[in-house]
């Protein structure tokens, strides 16, 4: 036989096995011996073959890890997508806009609801006072919302947001733009003409997706009253599955004619830059307190609500951080349970393969060879579990994002983290079983059946 580096003379006959014909590893394999690559690879082969042999057991073992990693990956991916949507949505109005309203947009309790209902309505006069007195304010507008049925010929659409606005700078404050037709003039708006500007969803729902300019001039019915379309808005898209384009803008005076004048309005105030927001808020607050007769700052209730978009962002931030905490908790529990399952199965595996361990030890496997073999097996199981978890997590996030309608942001970092954390779980839960295998007495192990 031909062997590269032998430190003793080789046998003459190719098939002879003479005593002491020791093979010294070549310099290359000496290096390999340092890393014990062969033994590591052997461990991996053994691990995969044993996992293949016990498919059912392996898949059951994987479950805990898969569930944990799936939960984390899905939630992280979904929330990242939501974050992006939220950031995009709120930046269209931005932090230069705040509102004055009778009730805050988020009411936390029945008591609050009752208290806010006792407040005076915010009226057009309030808006005019603010526009007149607030020097830091740039644009002031009012808006009132109703959800109504809108009809065209025999087509109808329910739950359309009808937004009565004045003056026309409200379109700028809302951050919407005209796609076709025009904005009504202030004169038309103030005279209470029954004209409207519709969102793109109206075209889809009532005009069978007709081109925007073909809808201009048509007459639709809002709460039973005829309105002529003068313009069509550019699309804004949707947030959390709710379209922001299912809207009809009408002049506020027309809104009062159609829906009555007794409802409270919301005053929108915009400042040129975010730095001026605080000054404008202070001015408006003072003006409104004066108008409500609330002079003292320590008064229990101001009688109105001043809000910025930050309330949404705060609420959103709190909600998502709670979701994160819950998910991490769920993931931690399933990883711990998964780890215990892996440890249990590894102990069974060690017991089952006692004979094999004995054979390996008899022919020269050292403790660390056996230790690494079983550690590799445990890590292989959990890493596969982690990889499956990453896959199903992304899959789940994909389905949910498609259903709700937000961008899917799959990050490599979370995939690496998912597999990494589950591998660590594998090492931790495999350590004890592997150590038990490693310190088995070869004689007793060989005796096992």
């Amino acid at each position: 036989m031909r062997v590269d580096d032998t430190d003793e003379t080789q046998g003459t006959s190719p098939s002879s096995y003479e005593f002491g014909q020791r093979i010294a590893p070549s310099s290359k394999s000496r290096l390999i011996r340092l890393f014990r690559f062969a033994a590591l690879w052997e461990g991996f082969l053994v691990a995969t073959s044993s996992l293949r042999t016990n498919k059912l057991r392996t898949s059951l073992t994987l479950m805990g890890i898969v569930v944990g990693v799936t939960a984390v990956i899905a939630v992280v991916t979904i929330i990242k997508g939501l974050d992006k949507t939220v950031a995009q949505t709120f930046s269209s109005q931005g932090s230069t806009v705040f509102t004055i309203s009778k009730k805050p947009q988020i009411i936390k309790s029945r008591e609050e609801f009752i208290r806010f209902n006792k407040r005076k309505d915010v009226t057009h006069e309030d808006a005019e006072a603010i526009a007149r007195l607030c020097t830091s304010c740039w644009r002031v507008g009012v808006a009132a919302n109703a959800f109504e049925t809108v009809k065209y010929a025999d087509q109808k659409s329910d739950g359309v947001r009808v937004r009565g606005v004045t003056p026309t700078t409200m379109f700028d404050i809302d951050g919407v733009a005209i796609d076709a037709g025009r904005i009504w003039t202030e004169g038309e708006g103030d005279s209470g003409r029954e004209i409207c500007i519709v969102g793109p969803d109206i075209l889809t729902n009532l005009f069978g997706g007709a081109a925007a300019d073909r809808a201009v001039g048509r007459e639709i019915r809002i709460a039973g009253r005829p309105y002529t379309i003068v313009g069509v808005l550019e699309p804004l898209g949707s947030i959390f599955g709710f379209s922001r384009d299912n809207v009809v803008y009408i002049p506020y005076s027309s809104y009062q004619k159609t829906f009555g004048s007794r409802s409270s309005i919301i005053v929108f105030i915009q400042v040129p830059t975010a730095e001026q927001l605080e000054a404008a808020e202070d001015q408006v607050r003072t003006i409104m307190r004066n108008r409500r007769g609330k002079i003292f700052a320590d008064d229990a209730d101001e009688g109105f609500s001043l809000e910025t978009q930050d309330v949404f962002l705060d609420l959103y931030g709190k909600a998502t951080s709670n979701i994160y905490i819950v998910t991490i908790g769920v993931a931690a529990i399933s990883l711990v349970v998964g780890g215990i399952v892996v440890m249990n199965i590894m102990l069974v595996s060690v017991t089952e393969r006692t004979k094999e361990i004995g054979i390996r030890k008899a022919i020269g496997a050292r403790r660390k060879d056996i230790l690494t073999q079983f550690l590799i097996e445990a890590v292989t199981v959990t890493a596969i579990g982690g990889a499956i978890g990453v896959g199903t997590g992304f899959g789940l996030a994909y389905i949910i994002s498609a259903l709700i309608g937000f961008p899917l942001l799959m990050s490599l970092a979370s995939a690496v983290l998912g597999v990494g954390v589950s591998s660590v779980v594998g090492i931790i839960s495999g350590l004890w079983p592997a150590w038990r295998a490693a310190k088995l007495d070869p004689i007793e192990a060989l005796r096992a059946e």
Binding site: M1, R2, V3, D4, G11, S13, P14, S15, S16, Y17, E18, F19, G20, Q21, R22, I23, P25, S26, K28, S29, R30, I32, R33, R36, A38, A39, E42, S49, S50, T53, K355, E356, G358, I359, R360, K361, A362, I363, G364, A365, R366, R367, K368, D369, K439, P442, I443, L446
Partner: protein, 253 residues
């Protein structure tokens, strides 16, 4: 360290014993000096071996024979470096094995000892080739060289056409020959066989014993542990063990 009377030993052994006592490395391949093995059974101490001494030279073909409970298996475990003696010195190929730790013993088993077991002890899921490669894997031999050596070892036991077969696709005799190839692949100092024909029929037994004879003629040192006298009779020297002592040490060829 030794209370063995030199007179009870053959003359060569006695000379070597003197050298061991003088802390010289013995020149023989195996040198066992006053080996004791004691087990703790509850509160009682059981001596499986009490003061065994013998030497084996390179190229010898030895049978160790004895009834069950004679200490024969204990002795085999010691020779094979699966265990260390409670007392006494065991030199294998110039190395004092009796004081080695687990991992050093594993190294010695890998390099110096080739085991052949009664029940073959092959890995069921591995091919013949992989089974034979296993000692080389733990010896840190690179894959190309490993493959070559294992193929060569299988050829040496006439199993070149069964390389990719798994144990359950092989007959008993073929399995034992795979085990022998595995034992030989690392070119060990000794081939240690424990009842190598115990699970085989008469015809196959003869084949395996013929193979041992050939391997011996090629220069290998072979130790066969058996309770069958006709198997022992194939060897050139018989060590008879009884009650933990060497009862008889006779050269028969």
């Amino acid at each position: 360290m030794s209370d063995v009377t030199l007179a009870t030993l053959p003359i060569e052994a006695a000379l070597q014993q003197a050298q061991v006592n003088g802390q010289h490395r013995p020149t023989s391949l195996i040198s066992m000096r006053d080996i004791w093995k004691t087990y703790q059974m509850g509160t009682e101490e059981v001596h499986a071996l009490h003061g065994v001494s013998f030497d084996v030279n390179k190229g010898e073909y030895i049978a160790i024979i004895g009834p069950s409970g004679s200490g024969k298996s204990t002795l085999m475990n010691l020779i094979g470096c699966l265990d260390t003696p409670s007392k006494g010195d065991y030199w294998l190929n110039g190395k004092n094995v009796s004081e080695m730790d687990d991992d050093e013993l594993a190294r010695i088993r890998n390099q110096e000892v080739g085991f052949v077991f009664q029940t073959f002890n092959l890995l069921a899921r591995a091919t013949a080739l992989h089974n034979v490669e296993l000692p080389l894997i733990y010896g840190g031999i690179g894959s190309t060289q490993r493959h070559e050596m294992a193929t060569q070892a299988l050829k040496a036991v006439d199993l070149s056409d069964r390389v990719t077969h798994r144990p359950n696709e092989l007959s008993g005799g073929q399995r034992q020959r795979v085990a022998i190839a595995r034992a030989l692949v690392n070119h060990p100092s000794i081939l240690l066989a424990d009842e190598p024909t115990g699970a085989l029929d008469t015809h196959t037994s003869k084949e395996i014993m013929d193979l041992f004879e050939r391997l011996h003629s090629e220069g290998n040192t072979i130790i066969v542990v058996t309770h069958e006298h006709d198997i022992a009779a194939r060897a050139h020297r018989i060590l008879s063990i009884r009650d933990g002592l060497i009862e008889k040490d006779e050269k028969i060829k």
